[in-house]
């Protein structure tokens, strides 16, 4: 995506390079603009956002920190996303092996089924799981509706498509001769998968975990019906805060979230080259 991909010193080539660079800068600015606006808003002193601002202040960060609901929502979102991502990987890695290596009737259908949470609206997933849990409770007497497991199960669905797609794509790219060498030297298929294949698809696993975590952490539609009493996720806490207040506290929370997810992406890219697998 850099201007250097257009070579040559003829005027038309120089012009094309400049145009490509300008277009790239424009797209990057467009992507970064919401982030920049949120950061700007979080430092505005006034309760109502006006341009030009009435002044600048750090006070909204203090207000955000003192909101119990936002703090506890952050913690809930963190553990729900962590558990859902871990379970998502545990479920989808074996599934990806089967999909990438196996040739069986209905393979495409299974793949599409695992990807289907992406095409069903989140609110429908949340409401459906909730009604299902209520029905199970009616039939069995097990207190499932309003339990903490409902939200974890629902968020597991959110992470599955990302994990399946990324892990399967990485498995397809694995050099099978390395695995065959391990097998020919006496390693069992399980030992080969754990000690040879998984290390080779490590970048894909990390990418799957990152994307699954981010999708789960930021989700609101699925969570709305499924949060257990006494718990709330950060996106719900933000939505509820806005019901009564319009000050830049939420912008301050969003900046904290951006920093957290940004730091996770930077740390991940140091472990593995995300650009190669995503």
């Amino acid at each position: 995506m850099s201007g250097e991909t257009i070579l040559g010193r003829r005027p038309v080539e120089i012009l094309a390079r400049a145009a490509l660079r300008a277009a790239t800068a424009l797209v990057l600015a467009y992507i970064a603009m919401p982030l920049a606006l949120v950061v700007w808003l979080s430092f505005m002193a006034g309760e109502i956002m006006v341009v030009p601002p009435e002044g600048y202040s750090l006070r909204w960060y203090g207000v955000a920190w003192n909101q119990d609901q936002l703090r506890s929502g952050f913690v809930t979102s963190l553990w729900v996303a962590a558990v859902a991502t871990t379970l998502g990987l545990l479920v989808t890695v074996p599934a990806s092996f089967a999909l990438a290596r196996g040739r069986f009737p209905g393979r495409e259908a299974v793949l599409q089924l695992l990807m289907s949470p992406l095409i069903v609206p989140g609110i429908v997933i949340g409401a459906s799981i909730y009604v299902f849990l209520v029905q199970v409770e009616i039939e069995t007497g097990l207190p499932l509706a309003g339990s903490a497991w409902g939200i974890v199960v629902a968020h597991l669905l959110l992470t599955v498509p990302w994990c399946v797609r990324l892990v399967t794509a990485n498995l397809v790219g694995v050099n099978r001769s390395v695995e065959e060498a391990a097998l020919s030297l006496g390693a069992s298929p399980l030992v080969t998968a754990l000690t040879v294949t998984l290390p080779m698809i490590w970048p894909g696993l990390v990418a799957a975990a990152v994307f699954g975590f981010v999708v789960s952490f930021g989700n609101i539609e699925v969570s709305l019906f499924l949060v257990a009493p006494g718990q709330t996720t950060l996106p719900i806490a933000i939505l509820q805060y806005l019901q009564w207040k319009i000050d830049p506290t939420i912008a301050a929370v969003s900046v904290a979230q951006i920093v957290l997810i940004g730091a996770a992406l930077v740390a991940t890219s140091r472990i593995t080259n995300l650009g190669k697998v995503v």
Binding site: Y130, A145, G146, V227, A228, I236, Q240, L242
Partner: protein, 354 residues
């Protein structure tokens, strides 16, 4: 010993008979139920944010904790709460003991058989509820009225009617809120020959306003910004929100429409399948206590729903609707809205906004 027992037993039987007869007589004379002392945990389904914070600070901590009742919140929008109440109707024990709903929501849930009926035996403070807020299924927690907000710099003459929004000189200065399509059509109907059970005349009236030039803002927050930047000069809004905006430095004054003040009521209800009904009734009683009512008036700008609270004069002037307007108070007809809301929304989206 046996004899003695027999004698004792006969004696007790006579006493027991007397006690039972007395209790039965007391039950007939005094219908109030003697309830078990509330204790344990209750789940309160509510809006979050400041509203939940204030419930915790002014109801849970000072009034419920000393009783030994622990309050846990199930935070969501009222649409989610209504869906949950409906879905859980067949469960012997629901997930909420108390649910906060708008008046239309509590009516809808009661109509669907999801709510416990209330009386002063269960919730003694219901005796203090203002007559125009009473219902047999809900404890009204807070209320406010629909008014006109205007910027006196841009609208020099104080409005007296919703019709003032249609004045040609205010063309382009009027703002409406997308989310408030229902109340907006209703307000227009009030000046076009409609009523609380007939919003139809409001539609043509609003199309007139559209021709003159009207700005539609997606949310209350967007409207607040528009008023602050003076992009919009006049709008229809709730009094409590107007008070909050004044506190936030938005240059608006409040005017009461002569057509009548329609009330917004936020209720608390108890589902039929609440797990801890005694504590739930105690919670409803606590939200009607004068101390918590005063706190919500002071911090959120909503008027108390009970008649036994005394507000500081300045606060009373700010949050209370003028006494002389009480005769003009109007309540939405929830049955009508239940039947027509979908079509009102469709008209708003397809014909008015397009």
């Amino acid at each position: 010993m046996r004899e003695g027992n027999t004698v004792m037993s006969a004696h007790l039987n006579r006493r027991a008979f007397g006690l039972l007869a007395g209790a039965a007589a007391a039950g007939i004379v005094c219908p109030r139920t003697v309830r078990a002392a509330p204790s344990g945990q209750i789940v309160v389904g509510t809006w979050g944010g400041d509203y939940q914070n204030l419930l915790q600070q002014n109801v849970a901590v000072p009034l419920m904790t000393p009783m030994g009742v622990n309050v846990v919140y199930d935070t969501a929008t009222d649409t989610v709460r209504k869906t949950k109440l409906m879905a859980e109707r067949r469960l012997p024990r629901g997930s909420m003991d108390v649910a906060a709903l708008t008046a239309s929501g509590s009516f809808e849930m009661y109509s669907n058989g999801a709510l416990e009926e209330l009386d002063e035996g269960k919730v003694p403070n219901l005796q203090h509820v203002q007559p125009f807020l009473k219902s047999k299924y809900a404890a009204p927690h807070i209320y406010t009225g629909r008014v006109i907000l205007y910027n006196p710099k841009l609208i020099p003459e104080k409005p007296t009617s919703y019709a003032d929004l249609w004045k040609p000189e205010y063309a382009g200065k009027v703002g409406l809120i997308d989310l408030q399509y229902q109340t907006t059509i209703e307000s227009a109907a009030m000046i076009a020959g409609g009523s609380m059970t007939n919003y139809e005349p409001g539609k043509a009236k609003l199309l007139e306003l559209k021709k003159r030039g009207v700005k539609i803002y997606p949310t209350n927050e967007a409207m607040a910004q528009a008023l602050k930047t003076e992009e919009c000069a006049i709008c229809i809004m709730w009094l409590a929100r107007g008070v909050a905006w004044q506190k936030a430095g938005i240059p608006v004054e409040i005017a009461y429409p002569k057509e009548g003040v329609v009330l917004y009521i936020s209720d608390m209800v108890v589902p039929k399948n609440a797990r801890n009904k005694d504590a739930a009734f105690a919670y409803l009683n606590a939200i009607l206590e004068p101390t918590s009512q005063e706190a919500f008036a002071r911090t959120m700008g909503y008027a108390p729903t009970v008649d036994n609270v005394t507000l500081a004069p300045a606060l009373a002037k700010q949050v209370s609707l003028p006494a002389d307007l009480q005769s003009s108070f109007a309540k939405q007809d929830q049955d009508y809205l239940l039947k027509t809301d979908a079509s009102l929304q469709e008209w708003w989206t397809k014909e008015f906004k397009s």
